[in-house]
């Protein structure tokens, strides 16, 4: 990846992180931890990969993205706003009683959302259905989906994986945000799904494990996805939960808690400093 692209993506990822902090602060609720760990993927998807047009959010032949871990809506909303689907200024209305920015993604109120999600394990099945539909219709449409490493404890996820392999859905790219933490603690302690890579392989996927907070490695994963034929592609992204905000990093408490005013200022100062550093470079 050239430096210009990397800089562009880093700037967007930082702005997405700022949007996550602004929206969860505005909501006084929400899920910053997993949104922050996935922010680099959101930046890559919407600014370097997906064939989408914010002026025509329902275009039939667009690529699709399903946020199966729907609670990370602040990250996705932030990316969509920056992409131009709706005003960035609306982000702090997240979860407000009169806002279209629902606590979990709603495809009927939020422009750019391809599937309503929130109940874990269901989004991946819908993504699989979209990929099957694209194949059935003979359309060149890629379907991307993001799951949490806690989410994959849901049995339905593995029903979906079997389906994807059975129907050779090589237009399906599944990311697992492996930040190692779920609400009640470390995934390893609550209910370990490891080894995730071997499980996915056994379920018929082409599998790659990368650092999900590194754009060069994300680029390699997308290349591998595009080169995979005859089977679905799975990417395990090793990430840092809370990435980009010092006091949220690797802290399980920040799974589903909003920053207060003081914490908000600290987080925004850190992200503004990061942005300045990127823009100077």
């Amino acid at each position: 990846m050239n430096n210009e692209t990397k800089k562009m993506l880093s700037v967007y990822a930082t702005k997405i992180r700022m949007g996550i902090i602004e929206s969860t602060h505005g909501a006084k609720a929400g899920h910053p931890g997993g949104s922050l760990s996935s922010a680099d993927l959101f930046a890559y998807l919407y600014f370097n990969e997906m064939r989408v047009d914010p002026k025509n959010p329902k275009a039939e032949d667009r690529d699709r993205f399903v946020l199966s871990k729907g609670h990370c809506a602040p990250g996705l909303y932030s990316a969509l706003a920056l992409k131009g689907y709706f005003p960035v200024e609306d982000l702090p209305t997240l979860r407000h009683i009169d806002s279209y920015l629902q606590g979990h993604p709603n495809m009927n109120t939020v422009p750019g959302i391809d599937m309503s999600t929130g109940s874990l394990g269901q989004g991946i099945s819908a993504a699989v259905g979209m990929a099957k539909g694209a194949k059935y219709l003979g359309k060149d449409i890629n379907v991307y989906s993001l799951l949490g490493d806690g989410e994959i404890e849901e049995g339905q996820v593995w029903e979906a994986m079997m389906f994807a392999a059975q129907y050779e859905l090589d237009n399906l790219c599944v990311f697992i945000d492996s930040n190692g933490l779920q609400i009640d603690g470390a995934c390893e302690e609550v209910m370990s799904a490891e080894p995730i890579d071997e499980k996915l392989r056994a379920f018929g996927f082409e599998v790659m494990t990368i650092n999900g907070n590194n754009f060069d490695e994300l680029e390699k994963a997308f290349e591998a996805f595009h080169n995979t034929k005859g089977k679905p592609f799975g990417c395990i992204m090793k990430t840092v939960k809370g990435k980009g905000v010092s006091y949220m990093e690797n802290a399980v408490d920040w799974h589903g808690k909003a920053p207060n005013d003081e914490e908000f200022e600290i987080a925004m100062a850190e992200l503004r400093a990061k942005l300045a550093e990127l823009e100077e470079a």
Partner: protein, 313 residues
């Protein structure tokens, strides 16, 4: 009775899907969960194998796959037994089909205790309650082959989620082909002034038989078929209740949350009327031949006649 055709509405389901495709329904795709021989989507599969998607024994995934397919402009019919379509996959239907109001049709066969020998684990008497409670969900339970085939076609042409309930047991075909089914519209099968009998599914025919027996006793029963339990044809029900002043509901479902309660809610808010509910009274079914079970649970013309006779005294 020898000339009465007997067809299970699950058979009608399979045939109607095939007829739809033959009539040019180009968005139609059919999903099943390893039960295509029993749900009769096998009839469709044989004619249109490339449009039949077997999801394996994984109903939760199937419902959400159907949701995904619908967002691509297709009209999926997701098929399984009522127990698994409405029961096992309830939350998938609620959250990934109902909440986004997607254009998915659920074909649920083997509903009620007339499943027979398989017993309680497969006898779903709770699906009306579950599906009615989902905002925006249309719930249909056709009475015979003619109505079932038309209901499948109406569901295809309707834009939004629809739950269709079919039976395993072959039942008499009493509608002639000139009958026109419309979503949300009830059907007055015979008029009467003494008591209203509201039924759906295979019990409509039992209600008709009861109506004949009651007439012989000098009791005029108004027989109404409410194939669409949601949205309910309130106007028709209220008008009949005002006329007869007594209402009996008959359903192959728990009396909790089904047709009986839907009618009671409608009447108590609009024109309070005494109601007797015939249905399954807060218990599980068990194994046995379907017809014997229906009799044992009071889901028969004889019991409807008995309840009505007592009611009008």
């Amino acid at each position: 009775m020898a000339d009465v055709k007997m067809i299970a509405t699950r058979e009608s389901y399979g045939n109607a899907l095939k007829e739809l495709a033959a009539d040019g329904a180009d968005k139609l795709v059919v999903l099943d969960a390893d039960l295509s021989a029993a749900t009769k989507t096998g009839i469709f599969k044989k004619a249109y194998p490339e449009r039949h998607i077997n999801c394996g024994i994984a109903e939760a995934n199937m419902m959400c796959v159907a949701a995904g397919l619908s967002t691509m402009g297709l009209v999926p019919f997701a098929s399984s037994f009522a127990m698994f379509a409405a029961g096992r996959a309830f939350e998938q239907v609620r959250n990934t089909i109902g909440y986004p109001h997607l254009n998915v049709k659920i074909g649920a066969t083997h509903a009620g205790i007339s499943v027979g020998e398989d017993g309680a684990s497969h006898q779903c008497c709770e699906d009306f309650a579950l599906m009615r409670a989902i905002p925006g969900m249309v719930v249909i339970c056709p009475a015979d082959d003619v109505e079932a085939r038309q209901a499948v076609k109406a569901a295809y042409h309707y834009n939004g989620p629809v739950y269709l309930r079919f039976g395993r047991l072959a039942v008499p075909v009493f509608h002639d082909e000139s009958y026109k089914f419309e979503i949300g519209k009830g059907e007055v099968i015979r008029e009467g002034n003494d008591v209203t009998i509201i039924a759906n599914g295979l019990l409509v025919n039992e209600a008709i038989e009861a109506g004949k027996a009651l007439e012989a006793k000098g009791i005029g029963a108004e027989i109404i078929n409410i194939a669409t339990i949601k949205p309910l044809d309130e106007e028709l029900i209220i008008a009949s209740a005002k006329k007869t002043g007594k209402v009996i509901t008959v359903e192959e479902h728990s009396v909790i949350g089904g047709l009986g309660e839907a009618v009671c809610s409608c009447l108590s808010e609009n024109c309070p009327t005494p109601v007797k509910r015939i249905g399954v009274y807060d218990e599980f079914g068990h194994s046995g031949p379907a017809l014997d079970l229906l009799k044992q649970f009071g889901l028969s013309a004889e019991n409807i006649e008995r309840v009505a006779t007592e009611f009008v005294k």
